[in-house]
């Protein structure tokens, strides 16, 4: 009997706000312990929460980016449990009326398009951070009260690689949309996994285990690659899988049981009396919608189809949105889109890195790149001169035609080329023969000779074509 795995993920994502959810403490990573705190986020007697409006917006924005419904009524609830990292010994969260629900994420997987459902993405507060030592623990409350988006997927994921691909897609969306910086190393995103196995064809779900404590996407994959065979083996052997929570131990590569607490799941949810409900108006929702950006997958496909770019180029323009925007401006009306892409991806990107600049800070204009491509294609300047021109364009923002005029660059002399080609062929009889006999690479020797004769000013493309004609007819 074949077994399949049924996997759902729960991802907690810190929202990219300046201040915490209920108070004005800074939402910042890396501060010395217990320095970004106030009476509110420390759970001191008498304090009250007040909701961060940007966190509400980012939550609705995440909802739109995840294709969710953003209902007209949402509220907060208290989830009650005692733990040293919980300043109030309850967590303010959303239980039955979350801010967003019923969406999906689409991503590329194994050559096709995969969709994973999003049950809900709700807003809650983060807790402090526990540090464990030999015989005691310590708590840092800097993180307590940071706004957290809990994203719960439908159990649509079927294997560890899919989980990995999904997480990457989710990360791109969250970063793209400005919702979160999603840096797992800094604890800005944490992932728990729910996994069960069942015979293929069975519609109902078997008992599932929740795995916590994976610190990276590959950790998630590793944990699943351990747990799935384990559960499958045990199920085949007739053992019952105990529904419960386990901990992934990445060093040992196994899941470990956690302490079971008899009241572990009695959270006694009730509506948060200190907070008012959230009923977004149409105007407010419109304003959030205007912040929705083109998602990575859609962008990539658009670049590939509209501009006929190869996947690699499109990927660059997805990873680097401003570069892609520059490309789109430059390529307008230009037939040789690949050439524009090459200039932007190879030359412009390199120069930006070298100069330590963002694209918005440099001088070069999209129209200049377009003009440059035209000059080369019309053979008005050589490609070597074009390289030099690019450098000047980058430094000064000037247009290439003007630079070429000033420098007095001329297109390669056709007659001169003929002479140089003949001379080079004569000087390299071996390679010439090789080429005649079908060895394409042999041409490079002869080309190099022509370039030497022309002192580098010949256009390699043109020379190749000319040599080929001469040698092969």
């Amino acid at each position: 009997m074949e077994y399949e795995s049924v996997i759902g993920l729960e991802i907690h994502v810190q929202l990219k706000t300046k201040s915490k959810m209920w108070c004005g403490c800074a939402n910042e990573y890396g501060a010395p312990p217990n320095t970004n705190v106030c009476p509110v986020c420390m759970g001191m007697p008498g304090v009250l929460p007040v909701a961060n409006e940007e966190a509400m917006r980012l939550t609705a924005l995440a909802g739109y980016l995840l294709n969710c419904e953003v209902p007209k009524f949402a509220k907060f609830d208290r989830k009650n449990y005692f733990y040293p990292d919980a300043p109030k010994n309850y967590q303010i969260t959303q239980y039955d009326k979350p801010s967003t629900r019923n969406g999906y994420v689409e991503f590329e997987f194994e050559g096709g398009l995969q969709r994973v459902g999003i049950t809900r993405a709700h807003l809650e507060e983060d807790l402090g951070k526990n540090f464990h030592f030999d015989r005691e623990s310590g708590v840092d409350f800097n993180r307590a009260g940071v706004p957290l988006l809990e994203i719960v997927t439908e159990p649509d994921i079927r294997n560890p690689d899919m989980a990995h691909a999904f997480l990457n897609a989710l990360k791109d969306i969250m970063i793209y949309g400005g919702v979160s910086d999603f840096d797992m190393e800094k604890g800005m995103a944490r992932c728990d996994v729910n996994i069960s196995v069942r015979p293929v064809g069975q519609e109902s779900f078997n008992a599932r285990r929740e795995i916590k404590n994976m610190n990276s996407f590959s950790g998630v994959r590793r944990a699943l690659n351990y747990e799935i065979p384990e559960q499958t083996r045990r199920t085949k052997a007739g053992e019952t899988i105990q529904q419960g929570t386990v901990r992934w131990n990445d060093d040992l590569g196994v899941t470990e049981n956690m302490r079971s607490k008899e009241d572990a799941h009695d959270y006694r949810y009730f509506p948060e009396p200190d907070l008012m409900p959230f009923e977004p108006t149409d105007e407010w929702l419109e304003e959030v919608r205007s912040r929705v950006v083109e998602l990575p997958l859609a962008r990539k496909r658009r670049f590939m189809s509209d501009y006929e770019l190869p996947e690699g180029d499109a990927d660059v323009f997805v990873q680097n949105v401003p570069l892609g925007d520059f490309f789109e401006a430059a390529v307008e009306g230009v037939k040789n889109r690949k050439a524009v892409a090459n200039w932007v991806i190879n030359n412009l990107r390199a120069k930006l890195v070298e100069a330590g600049l963002e694209i918005g800070d440099c001088q070069i204009q999209p129209a200049a790149v377009a003009e440059l491509v035209g000059l080369v294609d019309d053979k008005r300047i050589t490609s070597k001169n074009a390289q030099e021109a690019f450098g000047i364009m980058f430094e000064t923002g000037r247009m290439p035609a003007a630079i070429a005029d000033e420098k007095g660059w001329k297109p390669a002399d056709a007659g001169e080329m003929e002479t140089f080609c003949d001379a080079a062929i004569e000087a390299n009889p071996g390679p010439a023969d090789d080429f005649r006999n079908g060895k394409d690479a042999a041409l490079n020797r002869i080309l190099g000779h022509v370039m030497k004769l022309s002192q580098g000013s010949a256009d390699p493309g043109q020379v190749r074509a000319l040599l080929a004609k001469k040698l092969r007819g």
Partner: protein, 95 residues
């Protein structure tokens, strides 16, 4: 409405309140009386009644996303029973 006898042990555990045997007995009996009294709410038909969420409902109460000064490290720790290396110290938490 609840028909089972009131389990004070479970509730006290959930509330993290350690009771002596005597307290368990005494408080258990008193709470049994009180819970018996509140059963009278069962007499009412509340089928079509909305629960009161807030006495004076307002919605969309938020604050701007601005950083405000909080407490200094010393002020935070001034009331803390046990501090080690800037962290609030507790017994070892076993997960």
């Amino acid at each position: 409405m609840a028909d089972d006898a009131f389990d004070i042990h479970y509730a006290a555990n959930l509330a993290r309140i350690e009771l002596s045997e005597e307290e368990e007995a005494r408080l258990g009996a008193q709470l049994g009386d009180i819970l018996g009294y509140v059963e009278k709410l069962k007499e009412l038909d509340v089928e079509d009644v909305e629960p009161t969420a807030h006495a004076h409902p307002v919605s969309n109460v938020t604050r701007p996303d601005e950083v405000r000064p909080g407490l200094t490290h010393e002020e935070v720790l001034q009331n803390a029973p046990r501090v080690v290396n800037g962290l609030i110290n507790v017994p070892k938490i076993v997960e």
